[in-house]
Symmetry: C2
Subunit: 218 residues, 2 copies
DNA sequence: TAATATTTTTAGATTAGTCTAAATTTTTAA
DNA sequence: TTAAAAATTTAGACTAATCTAAAAATATTA
């Protein structure tokens, strides 16, 4: 039996391992989980005991094969529930994270499978993040950060790096939601801000920070 | 903040209070919650501390106004999620209880309201139990146990008293699901079993036990 | 109404998950 | 390459929720 707390740690380790090449450190996990290093060490012992992670004192951790499966299944559930909340219940993309965080822990015989079918087997969640299939396979979609585009490049918004409500609401305000098209007009070397034209003809200036958190298919 | 465990106790007390006139006893709660009397006493102290129940040592408990609201909201959520699981995800009525038991604890700004709207404001759940509205008002539907019908009476199945999967699956097998019509042909005084005719013309013999667990609108 | 049975509460322990503070190990850099 | 800094672990404690066994209160009945 894997507790909710244990599941959340596995997901945190998965997230860190996605970005870092090396094993996930105690501090990185503590920061991701908003807790203390001491609590993390305690939990790592439990997870290692259950063979969900490979843990060597002072050396950080990696997910075991089984731990990886648990984390992947959780992310699958989380993202499917997000699709449900947005597509079926009409929530905005900045409102669904906390609810999905709870819904992902609900257990039931084939609940995920039926939810997936009900939603039409979506491949991406409302933020553009890929949803692994029942076998844990990830869909791939080539995309680039806005900050890597050159003047003249056109693209369609496909995802975000920053998932905070503030950023998502700002994008809503700018009309830069998933599927929105744009053309990069000019990049200002002084602060790396960019000028873009939206598909409905508006011209906008976006900061470097926005550029580093918005993904596009070019 | 009310914990999941506390919520479950409030629901248990609500259930008992529905049937009993007197205050809910420690033992009755222990039995409903599948735990020990000692654990119940501990929890009753916590709930009384939070003013969710009115508790006098050795005298049993009743829900306070606030406790009643919490319990009613929980039952509303539980039953709405059951409708979702059956109507939208295609689960059978005997499969949804445990999942709804988890889903009812999910918190979210207007999650219940949106779910209710999405489902079309259902008044009854898949077992025929009423779903309180957002203000905690209960729909009333006049119904009688099969065991109270007389020969010649006709009725439509509207609910069950026993919610166990075995009983629900047995009813499926007999074709006596919600909405099924029947006529009581004869009652055998020896064991209070009854002979009925279904709307599609089949004749069935049902035990006293079935009679005491099946509700009909006559 | 007094003895017995039943119910309820208390006492003391346990577990998961968390914390702070202290000790230890690893890393960094003078 | 050793001293200081940073990261990690250990030690000890806390809380919520649970348990068993014993004590106390209430209910039953002879």
């Amino acid at each position: 039996m894997i507790s909710h707390a244990e599941e959340n740690y596995l997901k945190a380790i998965f997230k860190i391992s996605e970005k870092e090449v090396k094993a996930a450190s105690t501090n990185a996990i503590a920061s991701e989980m908003q807790t203390t290093a001491a609590s993390v060490t305690d939990m790592l012992k439990r997870l290692a005991e259950k063979n969900l992670i490979v843990y060597e004192k002072y050396r950080g951790v990696e997910l075991s094969k089984e731990g990886n499966q648990v984390a992947t299944a959780l992310i699958r559930k989380h993202r499917l529930w997000e699709v449900f909340l947005v597509e079926k219940l009409g929530f905005a993309w900045d409102e669904v994270h906390d609810m999905a965080e709870q819904l992902e822990h609900v257990q039931g015989n084939d609940l995920v499978g039926r939810l997936d079918t009900f939603l039409g087997h979506p491949k991406f969640d409302p933020h553009g993040d890929p949803i692994p299939d029942a076998e844990g396979r990830w869909a791939f979609r080539p995309q680039s950060l806005l900050s890597t585009l050159k003047p003249g490049d056109r693209g369609v918004v496909t995802g975000v790096e920053d998932h905070t409500p503030t950023f998502l609401q700002y994008l809503d305000q700018l009309g830069l939601t998933l599927g929105a098209g744009l053309e990069l007009l000019e990049r200002f070397p002084y602060d790396q801000s960019v000028r873009i034209r939206t598909e409905d003809g508006r011209e906008l200036t976006l900061s470097e920070k926005v550029g580093q958190n918005l993904y596009l298919k070019v």
